[in-house]
């Protein structure tokens, strides 16, 4: 983390911002298949580790992909999650719930070879049934790769800002 970072140029910052907006639009309109096909690389590692509440003096290392995680998916596993949503038998999404994303603090670093480290904050608002409302905030650490006419994500680390999830589940893409 301490290596010197090269901030990506303004044009790239802008392109990545637009990329994230398009990604959010796909999620908010239920176009999960399109998202997976067009924005996710086949070597994706999609990861939401579990962070315990530990004392500052605790020297145990941070979680690795071999440890417990809420998401720890490869492409095929993400594909299964997408597929489930199209079966027509996910009763809790019928009638469908609402989801809204707010992505901010986007910061892209050029790591060479058409790849970028991108940090962002995400606020997710879900509204279900009559009165169910939940809000989650996450830090997001992406590795994006330039493809023909845009970007694909090949690492996504999601840092959930809650030890105890105040929601029925975290089955949403982020």
């Amino acid at each position: 983390m301490s290596v010197e970072r090269v901030l990506a140029g303004l044009d790239v910052q802008y392109a990545i911002d637009m990329h994230y907006r398009a990604e959010v639009r796909l999620w908010q309109t239920g176009q999960y298949r399109e998202w997976l096909n067009n924005m996710v690389a086949e070597d994706i590692h999609y990861w939401m580790p579990i962070y315990e509440q530990r004392f500052l003096r605790d020297r145990r290392p941070d979680p690795t992909p071999d440890d417990a995680a809420i998401y720890n998916d490869d492409y095929g596993e993400l594909d299964q999650r997408v597929q489930r949503l199209y079966t027509g038998t996910v009763w809790m999404e019928d009638p469908p719930s609402k989801i809204r994303y707010f992505v901010s603090n986007i910061e892209a670093f050029d790591t060479g070879n058409g790849e970028f480290d991108v940090y962002s904050n995400v606020l997710v608002y879900r509204n279900r049934r009559q009165l169910e409302m939940t809000v989650h905030t996450l830090g997001r650490e992406d590795k994006l790769r330039r493809v023909d006419d845009g970007f694909k994500v090949f690492r996504r680390k999601l840092l959930l800002d809650a030890r105890v999830t105040q929601d029925k589940n975290l089955y949403f893409f982020c």
Partner: protein, 454 residues
């Protein structure tokens, strides 16, 4: 609500909807169910070294479970005996002592009060530290699983598990290595009564094909045929259901242990390699269970799926909310990669973002909250599936139901829930030890069925 015969009707196999809603029922549960039962605290594998600790709950009580220098485990209430502040705010760690944030009282690994700031000058030598240790609860372990109990008169953990040990040994000991738990747990809040998930895990094979239809389509494997309840399934030949003296119970789907796991080579090989030894040690009836998939609850509020290997604790937070803690069970002597893949698969299906977990939460919440309605609440729920198609079995202890789709273990769970809720103390419960299963009326079900098969 004490003694209200309408809460659970063991003749009609119904329960009042108040059991999911009423505050008085809940308060009585805290005192008589959670206050008297052995509650899951942890597993030795979660705190392997002396000084290791984890913080957890016993119902709504916060407790510290601590590994002692002599290798034993102690648990004490996570509240300072001075002015009551919470002693420890970390999930886990290793500590020589626990220091209260408020005025700095220091507790040892065993919960005793070992140091008090300014003691000699400000307490003038009048403070009896020996009497001010953190409040202890009983701690006992079974095959590495650690339980705590707040009732000095409760039976031992082994007696409390009772004949259920016969079943647990099949997997908690297995071929010899037994199981361990991998943490840290996922934690989430679910707005439901604690008994809804407990009864779901103790014996609800019925919901699998319908609630989880979407996920089962995607996963494929042995259980895909259940999806949508459409298949012509020979339900009487696919598994069994069990309930025991103290409400512990489970359902088993034959030959389906790793069914929910997509990447399963290591786990399937482990089972194949070890089933012979299980057969030798425990006999064919338990070898059958060893390679089956279990949905299980240990009374009152701890559940697991063996095969899928998710392990859950439903910590109650009032009558209408729980905190769900999810660990993964793995064979202690499996190789690292196999353990890691089991953990990934278990989390992907039954973790906080699990493909099947996400189906269940909705039902559990709505089955609780519809009872807000006064007319609704003045009604009953039915758990009569398979009444009479169950009974004592020549080999399997407890009461055995004919199929994994049935409600034998629901009935057994609520039978004991009511018994413990009504009982003035554990002596009154023990007095029923020889007659507890008389509510299961068909005493000859299995002898007749097994004779006919011969």
């Amino acid at each position: 609500m004490t003694g209200n015969p309408s809460l659970v009707d063991t003749v009609e196999s119904t329960q009042s909807r108040e059991i999911f809603w009423d505050k008085d029922v809940y308060n009585l549960e805290l005192e008589r169910i959670f206050g008297r039962s052995w509650l899951f605290l942890g597993h030795e594998s979660l705190l392997p070294k002396p000084g290791d600790f984890i913080t957890t709950y016993m119902a709504e009580d916060k407790v510290i479970l601590s590994h002692q220098p002599d290798g034993s485990f102690r648990a004490f209430i996570n509240s300072c005996t001075h002015r009551g502040n919470q002693i420890c705010h970390a999930d886990s760690g290793n500590a020589k002592a626990f220091v209260c944030n408020y005025h700095g009282w220091v507790y040892g690994q065993d919960g005793s009060l070992v140091d008090v700031p300014l003691e000699s000058r400000c307490y003038h030598g009048q403070l009896d530290k020996a009497r001010l240790g953190a409040k202890h609860v009983r701690v006992e372990t079974y095959k590495g699983f650690i339980f705590g109990c707040g009732d000095a008169d409760a039976p031992s953990l082994e007696e409390y598990l009772g004949e259920f040990c016969w079943y647990l040994d099949t997997i908690w000991e297995g071929a010899g290595g037994g199981l361990e738990l991998l943490g840290p747990p996922m934690k989430s809040i679910l707005a439901c009564n604690w008994k809804v998930p407990t009864e779901n895990f103790v014996g609800d094979g019925y919901h699998v094909g319908w609630t989880h239809a979407g996920a089962l389509h995607g996963i494929g494997g042995e259980l895909a045929g259940l999806a949508g309840n459409r298949a012509e399934m020979p339900f009487e030949d696919l598994g069994l259901q069990f309930t025991t003296r103290h409400g512990h119970g489970f359902g088993v789907i034959d030959n389906a242990a790793p069914a929910i796991h997509v990447k399963r080579d290591g786990w399937a090989k482990y089972l194949a390699d070890t089933r012979g030894e299980v057969l030798r040690k425990f006999g064919p009836e338990r070898e059958r269970l060893y390679v089956g998939h279990w949905n299980c609850s240990i009374f009152p509020s701890c559940s697991f799926l063996y095969g899928t290997n998710t392990f859950k604790v439903w910590h109650p937070r009032g009558p209408h909310e729980i905190e769900v803690w999810t660990y993964t069970m793995v064979p202690r002597d499996a190789d690292r990669e196999t353990k890691s893949i089991i953990q990934r698969e278990a989390s992907r299906s039954f973790g906080t973002a699990g493909t099947l977990e996400s189906d269940d939460g909705e039902n559990m919440s709505s089955a609780t909250f519809v009872n807000r309605g006064n007319i609704t609440r003045d009604g009953r729920m039915d758990s009569s599936m398979g009444v009479g198609f169950e009974g004592p079995h020549p080999v399997y202890p407890g009461i055995v139901g004919s199929s994994f789709i049935g409600e034998t273990s629901h009935r057994g769970f609520y039978r004991f829930w009511k018994e413990l809720l009504d009982a003035p103390n554990w002596d009154a419960v023990k007095a029923n030890d020889s007659v507890w299963d008389s509510v299961f009326l068909n005493r000859d079900y299995w002898t007749a069925k097994l004779d006919a098969a011969e």
